[in-house]
């Protein structure tokens, strides 16, 4: 695995001068993942915060080839790029290995782009799809998505007098991707660069479709001080609200926190959950903790027991 000193010798894939919020996690995801590639990369991005803020004509923050097409089609667009690359390679017009990386927010990945993503994965293109997941439609002003967790306050499922934010649990996209039986699926966070760059390196070392779902706190939609972005992501990991794991050829490998913290430690610093701490919402908080525990248990059960396996 490349050290930070080694990564620092590589060309930064993103320049400064983009218009993301101060403290935004999305460019951190991009830099950590793309820096992990020894080979050149080509990027496609779905419409979203990242795309809009990094490519305001005539200013592009991308130091690597970049294509934006529309909101729901990053998977399909990258399929086309990769198909052309394979064609050129077959004809001997290109010999350089290239890592193809598609970025989409949770809206562009969990919801409107799911079909396109699923198709690209099923067809087996050699690409890595990275969901920079901030758990709502931040670009359009914090609307709920399929990735928004229960209880979060969003502008289309707000906390009000009779309801307490999003009613439903979030969809488990990572497991949906695992069900595609692709060679590599990873769920991670920003806030642990060594884990994230290692996962990206692994993804780039594997041929075929790869999927990475990276939790990325959004200071606007989540409501916290801009310097706490990485810290909050780490809390999500430590409370198991966002498990960190990878599935390589169907084999689960889970990163376990030293001590599993209560989920309120993660919820409390965020404005989007503030209403949950008002008197009367204790049951909902308990409910959230129970669901985190249930999902964590379910995930642990998927990991093959290490003892007795002979390995």
């Amino acid at each position: 695995m490349a050290s930070l000193k080694e990564l620092a010798t590589r060309k930064d894939p993103l320049t400064g001068g983009h218009r993301m919020c101060p403290g935004c996690g999305a460019p951190i995801v991009v830099r950590q993942i793309l820096l992990a590639s020894k080979d050149p990369v080509v990027v496609v991005s779905a419409t979203g915060c990242l795309e809009v803020s990094t490519t305001i004509f005539p200013y592009s923050a991308w130091n690597v080839p970049f294509l934006h097409n529309a909101f729901e089609n990053a998977g399909a667009t990258m399929s086309g790029v990769e198909a052309a690359y394979q064609n050129f390679k077959k004809k001997g017009k290109i010999d350089q290995h290239i890592n193809f990386v598609a970025f989409g927010g949770d809206g562009g990945t969990y919801d409107i782009g799911l079909q396109s993503l699923s198709g690209a994965m099923e067809r087996g293109h050699d690409l890595t799809y990275v969901c920079y997941n901030n758990e709502a439609y931040m670009n359009t002003g914090v609307q709920r998505s399929g990735a928004t967790p229960r209880g979060a306050n969003t502008t289309t499922e707000p906390a009000g007098k009779v309801s307490q934010g999003k009613v439903q649990w979030r969809k488990d996209l990572t497991e949906i991707m695992v069900a595609h039986n692709i060679p590599y699926v990873a769920q991670g966070i920003i806030g642990n660069w060594s884990d994230l760059t290692r996962k990206a390196e692994k993804a780039f070392s594997i041929r075929g479709p790869k999927f990475m779902n990276i939790l990325q706190p959004c200071r606007l939609g989540w409501g916290y001080r801009p310097d706490a972005t990485l810290e909050l992501a780490r809390l999500a990991f430590e409370t198991c609200a966002w498990p960190v794991y990878e599935v390589e050829n169907g084999v689960y490998k889970i990163s376990k926190p030293k001590e599993k913290k209560p989920v309120i430690e993660y919820l409390k610093p965020q404005d989007r959950f503030r209403h949950l701490f008002k008197p009367g919402n204790e049951a909902l908080l308990a409910d959230i903790q129970a669901e985190v525990d249930r999902r964590w248990g379910q995930l642990l059960a998927k990991e093959a027991p290490r003892q007795g396996s002979g390995q």
Partner: protein
């Protein structure tokens, strides 16, 4: 302050630009607080560099050499991630003080 922008006849064909032109766009003026680096305390661990959302930690030959204030938006992540103790190698300072005593 108004720049002359190219007309349609002089723009390149299609919606395309050379990569990396955002470096010409300064976002340093978004800052209300700035990170200040204390080189004597720095251990060059690069944690600030790998965590910066604005690619604003300047690194040369494996060592941190300063902060790109043209682009740094003053989020403070670098300060937060700096592991040096007891005094961090990066500290946040107000961007500007006032002149009028009231």
């Amino acid at each position: 302050m108004s720049e002359v922008k190219p007309g349609w006849k002089t723009l390149p064909e299609g919606d395309i630009v050379k990569g990396g032109t955002a470096a010409e766009f300064k976002t340093g003026d978004w800052r209300s607080e700035r990170p200040v680096w204390f080189p004597e305390r720095c251990i060059h661990c690069m944690f600030c560099w790998i965590s910066c959302p604005d690619s604003s930690i300047v690194v040369k030959d494996g060592k941190m050499t300063g902060i790109d204030y043209d682009h740094c938006k003053g989020c403070g992540i670098c300060v937060k991630e700096c592991p040096v103790k007891p005094n961090k190698a990066l500290e946040m300072k107000p961007e500007r003080e006032g002149s009028c005593q009231r």
